[in-house]
């Protein structure tokens, strides 16, 4: 676990709480969870920011209905949208252009997103991490005072294998784990029956395995994908949908878990 460069700890005094949303695996719905969790926190009266830390494959512009590169001369970043302050690499690079960068550039971009932008005063900053345990994760865990992490998994074993790696990473770098959320947990058909498409109970099992809280189950619903593609997350478009209610409950649980946590102690310094 090596640094890319000299990494002083960033000071972000205007941001009260920073939450990282992570999973080892791609495609489990991290960005959807991040967006809806951020909106649910904002719906509870908080000032919330959302940082899309997926430099190579940013999803937030599409999910939040912000298309095309932002002209910074007329529109300051982070963008105000749906009551959130949002930043993504997708605001700087056209969607058809690939970002082909080595780790130090990812580190630089993320550091700039956090320090060079005026986020204002925030109660919560939700960081949507890319999949894996690579450069973005290292930069953020080494330089940002993260208050906690939320691990997203889908129920099946193949997702949990990678979620375990994410948990192990946070344990190793001593970032508190707020809990595990099982996304795409089940589907309720028109017949009212519950279908466990990707099996069931993986998230709860994982939480038990690591003795961390199980934050809940988010059902799968085609409206989630539809809303995301339309740039209006489900919690805004269909607030009465069970998925939206699950996100509201998730936000409450996250706030409650943060309240029970003791902030990690700063390491003592050595004067030479």
């Amino acid at each position: 676990m090596q640094p890319q460069a000299t990494m002083p700890k960033l000071s972000l005094p205007n941001i009260r709480t920073i939450i990282a949303v992570a999973s080892g695996k791609g495609g489990v719905g991290k960005s959807t969870v991040s967006a809806n969790l951020a909106l649910a926190l904002a719906a509870s009266g908080n000032k919330v920011g959302l940082l899309d830390a997926d430099i190579y494959g940013p999803s937030m512009p599409t999910m939040m209905g912000i298309n095309g590169v932002i002209d910074q001369a007329t529109t300051p970043l982070p963008l105000d949208r749906h009551g959130l302050k949002i930043m993504s690499m997708g605001f700087l690079v056209p969607p058809t252009q690939a970002v082909i960068w080595r780790g130090p550039m990812v580190h630089r971009a993320l550091t700039q997103f956090l320090t060079d932008l005026d986020w204002g005063v925030l109660d919560y900053l939700v960081i949507d991490l890319p999949p894996g345990t690579g450069d973005a994760q290292l930069t953020l865990t080494q330089t940002v005072p993260l208050n906690g992490s939320v691990i997203v998994t889908t129920p099946q074993e193949v997702s949990m294998i990678d979620a375990r790696k994410g948990i192990e990473m946070f344990k190793q770098v001593r970032v508190p784990i707020l809990g595990i959320i099982e996304n795409m947990s089940y589907f309720v058909g028109d017949d009212g029956k519950r279908y466990e498409i990707f099996r069931h109970g993986g998230g709860a099992k994982l939480a038990q395995e690591y003795t961390v809280p199980f934050l809940g189950e988010i059902p799968i619903d085609p409206k989630v994908a539809e809303s995301g593609d339309e740039g209006l997350p489900i919690i805004l478009k269909h607030p009465e949908n069970p998925v939206s209610k699950a996100y509201m409950a998730l936000a409450k649980t996250v706030i409650s878990e943060l309240g029970t946590m003791v902030a990690p102690k700063e390491l003592p310094k050595l004067e030479l």
Binding site: M1, Q2, P3, T6, M7, P8, K9, T141, Q142, T143, K171, Q172, V173, R174, V175, P176, I177, Y210, T211, V212, P213, E257, T260, M261, P264, K265, E266, L267, P268, K269, L270, L272
Partner: protein, 116 residues
């Protein structure tokens, strides 16, 4: 939140003479680590790779290798490690708290290591 009880934690770090570091841990253990020992066990990828290679009998010492290793700074990394910048310019080693404890050279730890 039981898994978030990161038990091992240093209460203080002090220089012990010119050649070693004293770490007082939260369990009361007083760890001693020589700078030479720490430099020789640098966990960065380059140093690990060098250590894994067979010894080169024709190795020619560089001037920087003749200087007694000493840190120029010791910087906390997140809540889990320290990065040591050495007087030979090397700065890519991140020493996790667990690794600092494992590298301890106090009498008690040396005896434990020799019996296991």
């Amino acid at each position: 939140m039981t898994e978030n009880n990161f038990a091992l934690f240093p209460n203080s770090l002090k220089k012990q003479g010119d050649d070693s570091l004293l770490i007082v841990w939260n369990d009361g253990h007083q760890g001693i680590l020589g700078w030479k020992h720490l430099r020789g066990n640098c966990p960065c990828a380059t140093c690990r790779d060098e250590r894994d290679k067979p010894a080169n009998p024709f190795h020619i010492l560089k001037p920087s290798e003749l200087v007694q290793p000493a840190p120029t700074s010791l910087v906390p990394v997140g809540h889990y490690a320290y990065r040591i910048v050495w007087n030979d310019g090397h700065d890519s080693g991140i020493y996790t708290l667990e690794s600092l404890r494992n590298l301890c050279q106090c009498q008690e730890c040396i005896e434990k290591k020799t019996t296991t």
